[in-house]
Every structure is written in structure tokens, then in C-alpha cells.
Symmetry: C2
Subunit: 327 residues, 2 copies
């Protein structure tokens, strides 16, 4: 099996590629070849037959180049993130909408050039496709009313994915990821950054800032769970999906207070003491428009699995990022 990963240098993309390379197979089928693309050249995993290169999906010819070698499985993870898509209208639409459409069109063109060709396409969507006000929990059949251009672009990607799949152009599945927690790396300026940093920084012995009340509830899954969603989506029988190709992934609804108590259980009062409340009305207002809790029953019934407690989410971080030890 030839696997193409677009967005392979991102946080989730790197973990996905590492996992695929370690497994050497997906759904029992050996992986014979990787094509890895991102705006910066991704790293080729050791001991694999890999072509890794830098490309802008929205530039003329690039999508055709990615698809021309007829990958059997395509992970489309590439996106301009929420904040940047909001700040740069043209760039967000160019990458997130045009890029996605160019990819889908390149697959269609390849199928026309030499039939049959209808690869599995796994598309990462986001809970940012939803916008307040919400019922609690948000049901699987709730409408998409995004409050950002990023969410709009992802929702459009979902619609295109469903239509191209319905027409048999490819076999697509869209997965709406929860907020990924604990996101590794340095603190960033994303409004959602604190959900990770209030755990990640204290686990590293550093101070973290909490800009919202600890009653704020949100929907989380670990990076490892996200990779699990991608792998499951890649091998799932899509027949039971019918025409509804996009799924809200399971996650864990937790308040900030519950996150903090989990940190206390795992790393003690000393870690919790490193969290410094610093109310920020702007962030609090943004977060108030975000979803809190979903009924992800449809994805669960299809076998998608997320963490059940925040203790687990913290343990995943300690195992995968901290070598199994809290310093």
C-alpha cells in the first residue's frame, strides 16, 4: 500500500507517520511506500521507501503531482490554523478551501485519466465547524454554523468530501477532531493554548497562565487518540456511513477544574501550584463561543475511541513526550 500524507510535518502528521512507519502496515496490509508532503519538507522515517517534499497544495500542478503516483490511501491534514485563517482571509481560503478542492479534483482527474482509481481519503475536520449557541450535549445531527473562516473552510471541505464520495470519485471520511490536549511544544498564542499549557508547563516544572474561570468546559482528546482516529478512519468499512461521510470524533468533556484535579492526582500539589490565574476577558469571550460537549455516539458505534479520563490524557503525554517520567 502506498500512503500519501499531506501535512506530514505538523504535530499530528509527524505522530501519524511515526506510527505508520513503526507498524509497517495498516489494517493488515503492508505499507510499501510513503509520499510525505508539507510546506516544509517532512522527515522521511528511517528504513522506509519514502519520498518527502515541500509543496503548497494550492499551487498549480502540486495536487496532480501528489496524486499522479496513485496512492491507495491519502491523509489530508494540511491546513492554515484558525487564528491565521481569521487574520489572513485570502490565505485561509486559498489553502483550506482551494487546496482541498484541488486535491479532490486531482483525484478525479487521475480517475478519468486511468480508471479505476478511487483511493481512501481521510480528511481532518474540526469541532470549529460548530458555532454557539449549542444544545448540551451537541447531537450528531446538529447543523454546522461556524464562527470562524477556518471553521467555514473545514465545513465546506466536509461537504465536498461527501459529494465526491457519493459520486464514487474517492472513498472519503471526514473526522472532526476535538481540541488536542496535551499539545506538545512551546506555548503558542492560540486562544485554546491554555488547555494544554496548564498541564504541560507544570509537568515540566514551569509556570502556566490560566486566562479563564476553572468552570469552563471543553472537548478534548490526546494526540495519540487523534492518530488512532486517523488509523481507524483509514481502514473502516465506509458502507455503514452511507452518504454521511463526516463524523464528530469522541472526546472527553472536562472543565478546567477537572483538568487541574487530574494534574494534582498525577503530579501533586507542587505542579498545581505552578498554575497562575490571570483572567483575560478576550480569551474568555472567544472560548464562550466554543462547543463544550458532544454526543459522539455515531463515531463510537463505528469503533472510534478516545480517552475516558483526564488522568489518561496526562499519562499519554508523560509516556509519549516525557519518556515516562514526571521530572
Amino acid at each position: 500500500m502506498h500512503v500519501l500524507v499531506i501535512g506530514a510535518a505538523g504535530m499530528v502528521g509527524r505522530k501519524l507517520v511515526a506510527r505508520l512507519a513503526a507498524d509497517g502496515a495498516i489494517g493488515g496490509t503492508p505499507i510499501t511506500r510513503f509520499s510525505l508532503v508539507d510546506v516544509i519538507a517532512p522527515e522521511a522515517p528511517a528504513g522506509t521507501e519514502t519520498r518527502a517534499w515541500a509543496a503548497d497544495l494550492s499551487s498549480p500542478g502540486e495536487a496532480a503531482c501528489m496524486v499522479g503516483t496513485r496512492p491507495d490511501l491519502i491523509f489530508h491534514l494540511a491546513a492554515i490554523v484558525s487564528g491565521e485563517a481569521e487574520a489572513d482571509f485570502d490565505k485561509g481560503y486559498r489553502i483550506n478551501l482551494d487546496g482541498t478542492r484541488l486535491l479532490f479534483e486531482a483525484i478525479r482527474a487521475e480517475g478519468i485519466r486511468q480508471a479505476p482509481y478511487a483511493p481512501r481519503v481521510v480528511f481532518t475536520s474540526s469541532i470549529a465547524t460548530f458555532g454557539a449557541p449549542f444544545p448540551d450535549p451537541i447531537p450528531d445531527a446538529f447543523h454546522l454554523t461556524p464562527l470562524t473562516s477556518y471553521g467555514t473552510q473545514k465545513a465546506i471541505g466536509e461537504l465536498l468530501l461527501a459529494d465526491y464520495s457519493r459520486r464514487g470519485i474517492f472513498d472519503g471520511i471526514g473526522i472532526r477532531l476535538p481540541t488536542i490536549c496535551i499539545r506538545p511544544g512551546a506555548p503558542n498564542k492560540a486562544a485554546s493554548g491554555f488547555f494544554s499549557s496548564i498541564l504541560r508547563e507544570p509537568l515540566a516544572g514551569k509556570e502556566a497562565v490560566l486566562p479563564v474561570p476553572d468552570t469552563v468546559m471543553h472537548w478534548h482528546a490526546s494526540p495519540r487518540a487523534a492518530v488512532g482516529f486517523l488509523l481507524h478512519a483509514a481502514t473502516l468499512d465506509t458502507a455503514p456511513l452511507g452518504a454521511r461521510r463526516n463524523l464528530t470524533m469522541p472526546g472527553l468533556a472536562a472543565t478546567v477544574a477537572e483538568q487541574i484535579e487530574a494534574l494534582r492526582r498525577v503530579a501533586g500539589d507542587k505542579a498545581v501550584a505552578l498554575i497562575r490565574p490571570a483572567p483575560d476577558e478576550t480569551i474568555a469571550r472567544i472560548v464562550a463561543g466554543w462547543p463544550r460537549r458532544f454526543d459522539a455516539g455515531r463515531a463510537e458505534s463505528l469503533g472510534f475511541v478516545a480517552e475516558k479520563t483526564f488522568d489518561e490524557i496526562i499519562q499519554v503525554h508523560i509516556q509519549d513526550e516525557l519518556g515516562g517520567r514526571v521530572p
Copy 2:
């Protein structure tokens, strides 16, 4: 006020323009100028200052030409219809998606060229944005899972409209029209054509074919009601809409049997006898995937009004198309 109607030569477009020209004003503001566009040149209403021309919205520069004269109110009714968009993938996406986006981008460019410019944009969407299986009735917050490329393109138009409105690029409102009944003119090959022809043809003393069981239920409004929706959308205060700019219009849920009984009350047994059952499994299967009944409470609370009985819908046809008389 300068009014631009794109799709002005279509059935609803012509009725809208005739009504606007007859009223000479909209929401109390005199109409000083019309710009009317369609793929064939629309007719200019007598006694008005009108520029009417033929243009393809998706061709380079055409959207800028339409918007460069800074209309205050834009009705975007232009679309490739469902059957053609399904048969011709490229044409459907080019007109219905690219055309809509080019229009929205032209408005944005005009606002950048000389601010402020943020016209009211009324976009006709469709109940084809919904796809089975459905709850009954379909609530306002039900997700869009279209089962045609046309429905997909309209759903994408809705998302773009909401995002451009949220950003203040224009003041948009999308209205999901019910199936228009009684559609005037000759029978066509649309799968939905029989909903109109089983009434229109007998009212004209002609035979009509009924391809489905009379238990089939569907969601209807008259052409006059559709024009009423457009006018109301053009003048409505959009503040209560918040970020949710797209609305399922009210309609009348009726079975074919109820349609036929209304015909009997209005035009007698002689008219009903002209309906010839001729079961068509293909049409029955297509129609089975269509919505039956909506809860349009949100639009109703905003003042949108449709017919309450099929007798009314038939009377509207007799008044507007048959000079008030059943031949």
C-alpha cells in the same frame, strides 16, 4: 435604491422583477435603478431605469462588472438546476459554487476599492441542502447532508454567505426555498415536475401523469410566496439572525392525495379525472430521499409567510397565471 438581480430571466426572477417594478419601492425606499442579469438577457420592465444584459457569472470579470456600479441590494438567484448539476459535474460547480464565490469576492473587492460598501445580499438556497434520513418534522438546527451536487453547492453557498456576512463584507441572508408549486410553463423532466403538473395540466384541461403513490408528502410554496420571501429577506433587520444567516422558509407539507383533493374542491371531479397514475420506480426512489416536512419556526418568527392550504396555492396559480379563471 439600486437593485441587482442575478438570474432575472428565470421563473422566480421574472416574477420578482415584475413585482419590484410594479411596487416602485422596497421597504419604503424608492427603486431608482435596476441591473438585471442572466445567461440570456432579461427583459427590462417598462418605465424603469434598467440595464439588462446577458452574462455568465462564472466568467472572468463578469461579477466585477455587476458589482462595480455598487448596487444597494443584490438578489442572487442564478443557478444550474439540480438535474443539470448532477449530469454535468463541472458546469454545476462552476456556476453554483465558483459563480457564487466570484460574486461574493467581487463585493469584497469593491468594498476594499472604496469603503464602505456592504450591500444586502439575498441568496436563494434550497431544501435540496437536506438529505435523508430525516426526523419528521425536520428542525431548524438539523444538519445539511445533501444527496446531490446541487444541494452540496447550495450548502457551500450558505456557508460562504454566513462567513462573508460575519466579517461585514456584506449583509447576507440565505433562504431555503420549498419546492415551488404550481410552477407555470410546460412540463419538464425534473423529478419534482409532477408536483406541479398534476395540478397545472388539469387546470388547463390537459392530462397529467402521476409517477408516485398519492401518499408521498412534500414541502411546497407558491411562486408568489417565493417572491414574498425574497422581498421580506431584502428588508428584514438582520441583527436578530446573529451569525446564522440561512433560514428554512415556511411552506405547506401536503401529500399528493391532499393536493388532488384541493384540486377537486377548486376545479371539480372533471379536473381530477385528468390525472393518470403511471408508477415510475426511478422517480419514486428519488423522491423518497427528499424532505417531507419542516419546522420552519425560526423563519416564521422573523415574519416569513407561506400558504396554509393547497386550495390557496391553486388559487394563486389561477389568479397569477390563468387570469383568474379555470378554463
